[in-house]
Symmetry: C2
Subunit: 255 residues, 2 copies
């Protein structure tokens, strides 16, 4: 089973950059890879070159009328099969905020279509809010990746998630696998090493050995609607996301 959700309630820590480039690395490794955009701001979709015309062409229709996920898939030049987002996705929290029974909607939708199997990995990009959408991603995933952008406020966001996951475990009846990924890592800054040490003390083995370096090519690629592999395949950023894929494969978190 390979469904990975990328979440941190802090904004701007590299969720989209990670979801997109990890999915692209998977697609380049000859795996049929799905990318699900659960952020109403739809940046993952936009960078991958996919625009949903209405909310109905997104996961919103899974919630509103149980539309099969396979009908929502778009081929992208990035190689990723994209299920896009749209601003109307924000309705999900407003419509379904009250019932706790909607948190398994995505989980069920994926299983019904056999998505997220070994041969069909799924990467889910989340928005920086613990709402119905992000909870669906957390309940659906086999592993949660929490990017920590080498600064205190994003590390604080990660600590918060640790608490949230503990609170959800009795409901889920299992411990959600998670990996904390240092991003925007600048070895010249003491703060980066400070944050790494904090993360290792708190999360131990769950901290990825791979760190994504601060690399301007990663920040440039969205402007061209490209993944790092399309924009700068020999860059440090491309190397780091390949290394992350290799680590997740070696650890059995991706099969």
């Amino acid at each position: 089973m390979t469904i990975i959700a990328v979440f941190n309630q802090k904004g701007g820590v590299g969720k989209t950059t990670t979801a997109l480039n990890l999915a692209a690395a998977l697609a380049r490794s000859e795996r049929t890879t799905y990318g699900i955009d659960l952020d109403p701001q739809a940046q993952f979709s936009a960078i991958a070159g996919i625009t949903a015309n209405t909310g109905d062409d997104t996961v919103l229709s899974l919630f509103q009328r149980n539309r099969p996920l396979s009908e929502l898939v778009n081929e992208s030049s990035s190689g990723i099969k994209v299920i896009p987002a749209h601003s109307e996705l924000s309705k999900v929290d407003a419509l379904f905020g009250k019932g706790f029974n909607v948190v398994n909607r995505l989980n069920t939708g994926l299983k019904v279509e056999s998505l997220g199997s070994k041969s069909n990995p799924v990467i889910i990009d989340c928005c920086p809010m613990i709402g119905v959408l992000s909870l669906n991603a957390i309940f659906a995933c086999d592993c949660l990746i929490v990017p920590i952008s080498a600064d205190y406020l994003s590390a604080k966001g990660a600590m918060q998630i640790d608490k949230t996951l503990k609170a959800l475990e009795p409901v889920l009846k299992r411990r959600i696998k998670r990996r904390y990924l240092l991003t925007r890592f600048d070895t010249r800054r003491n703060m980066s090493l400070d944050i790494l040490r904090m993360a290792e003390e708190k999360f131990g083995e769950d901290v990825c050995s791979t760190k994504i370096a601060e690399n301007v090519s990663l920040a440039e690629s969205p402007a061209l609607n490209k993944t790092i592999f399309q924009h700068a395949p020999s860059s440090r950023g491309a190397h780091d996301y390949d290394a992350l894929l290799a680590e997740l494969l070696a650890d059995g978190l991706i099969e």
Copy 2:
């Protein structure tokens, strides 16, 4: 009138860093300065050392029972008078998302208490979402500051806001004053200069001449729950936020 809202729908672009340090600069200039935290993640509040015990000690009570804002004020060692946030604030979007008549609640609450006058400036920190809370900030403010963190995705967020503001003008019956503030500006990166040029072409005079440089002291101060002036008063970050205050005073956006 001096009510400044700090908003950009992109995450992690420096909204809280700007709201906090601009408010601190104002407080140091001997003005009675109010900081209103409208982000359920309450980072502005936390860094200023203020924890709301319940949602009722936040702007939520203004919405739920028209509680006077003056009852919500806390003295902070930063010198700012803080009206804090709390995770329960996220209820506002769920409860009031439907009616458009709630967008003036903060506006009215401030006027009733004569907050935001020349001698009582108010700075409002927003979350990265265009919902009821952020709309209240936009409708209440005399000037909107949009931080742009010198990368393409945050510039894209700023373009989006420009569209949103245009759409709101018929409802507001006035043009909302706005300033775009380049933050995390790194002169060694071509991308920073690229983004500055893009912003100047699109927004012209509305781009602040002051740019907040990428400065590690600004990233460190939250860890110590300090403003930049408490943590590193001779740092580049402190200098830049003082310069921002001077520019806004010279332009008459703050009186």
